[in-house]
Amino acid sequence: MAASKKSGNTIAKYLPVYFALLAIAVVEVFLAYQHFSTGSLLAILLALAFCGGTLALRYFMHLAQESRGLFLTLIPAAIFVLLIMNMIWSDSFRLLHMRPFGH
């Protein structure tokens, strides 16, 4: 085994992203206490969550530094699967009016 070497401050370069993610979490809680409709709040919170997720993917998971082929294979496929799941919404709104789980 090779002898252990000394490294410098390894986390300093990640601090801006770290603080950005913490700020997003605080802003989300702040906005949740404002008087938005449920739909608007959902859209705002999801947009912020996607921003946080993108930062984590790019800078924490280093996906931006991997080969473009890996990015193009994973991300469009994942987005496609998540978009396909949106088919359920129209049915959930229909059920809301029929009140299947209401008491």
Binding site: I11, V29, S67, V81
Partner: protein, 208 residues
């Protein structure tokens, strides 16, 4: 020489090159993450479906203790991602001692997160929330809440165990910086999922 090139060199010319020019274990963890993202997607979409279709969905989360607890949990988990980044970079730089300290810090933060999560669960259970009933409204709230947060907690627990195994193996020289990097990608994914669980499961169900 990169890790994938080194692996090729060891196995000779009969082996095909690693896809996307990255080590196979890293590709494997990326594929696992893509499928796991779909799993969490199903859970969150299913939760959204039931919440939308229920007229009496409970909103039990008060600022104190629930939301405050969630903010602390978020801080702990994002900080653990930072220490994991330190571990990966230190391991790649060959600083074994520092990488070990960062890895064990990550484990400690993961354990703290799990403890806070379980405390949150016990708080809700004390208030009468069960898998199929609660005092406030739709009985499906408990099923979706415990399923989603439970699946995430399972990932955190599995991650803590995996990091401990990697930390031990790396300290003994049996494992490489590539192993640390791979478990790091998984750990950041656990952090990423939490960024979606908080707004959807907690912040949309605030008690006002």
């Amino acid at each position: 020489m990169s890790e994938s090139e080194a692996a090729m060199h060891e196995h000779g010319a009969t082996m095909e090159g690693s896809p996307y020019a990255i080590p196979s274990r890293k590709l494997t963890v990326w594929l696992f993450i893509a499928s796991d993202a779909a799993t969490f997607g199903v859970f969150l979409f299913g939760y959204g479906y039931l919440r939308t279709a229920s007229v009496d969905w409970p909103t039990p989360f008060k600022f104190s203790p629930s939301i405050l607890n969630v903010l602390i949990m978020t801080f702990v988990l994002i900080t653990s991602s930072l220490t994991m980044l330190g571990a990966v970079d230190s391991a790649k730089a060959g600083d074994q001692a520092k990488a070990g300290r960062f890895l064990w810090s990550t484990i400690l933060l993961g354990v703290i997160f799990a403890g806070l999560h379980i405390r949150e669960w016990f708080g809700l259970i004390d208030e009468g929330v069960r898998l199929f009933q609660n005092p406030w409204g739709s009985p499906l709230f408990g099923a979706t809440f415990f399923s989603i947060t439970g699946l995430h907690l399972l990932h955190v627990t599995g991650g803590v165990v995996a990091i401990a195994v990697i930390a031990r193996g790396f300290a003994r020289g049996r494992l490489t910086a590539g192993h640390v990097e791979t478990v790091g990608i998984y750990w950041h994914f656990v952090d990423l999922v939490w960024m979606f669980v908080v707004p959807l499961v907690y912040l949309l169900n605030l008690s006002r």
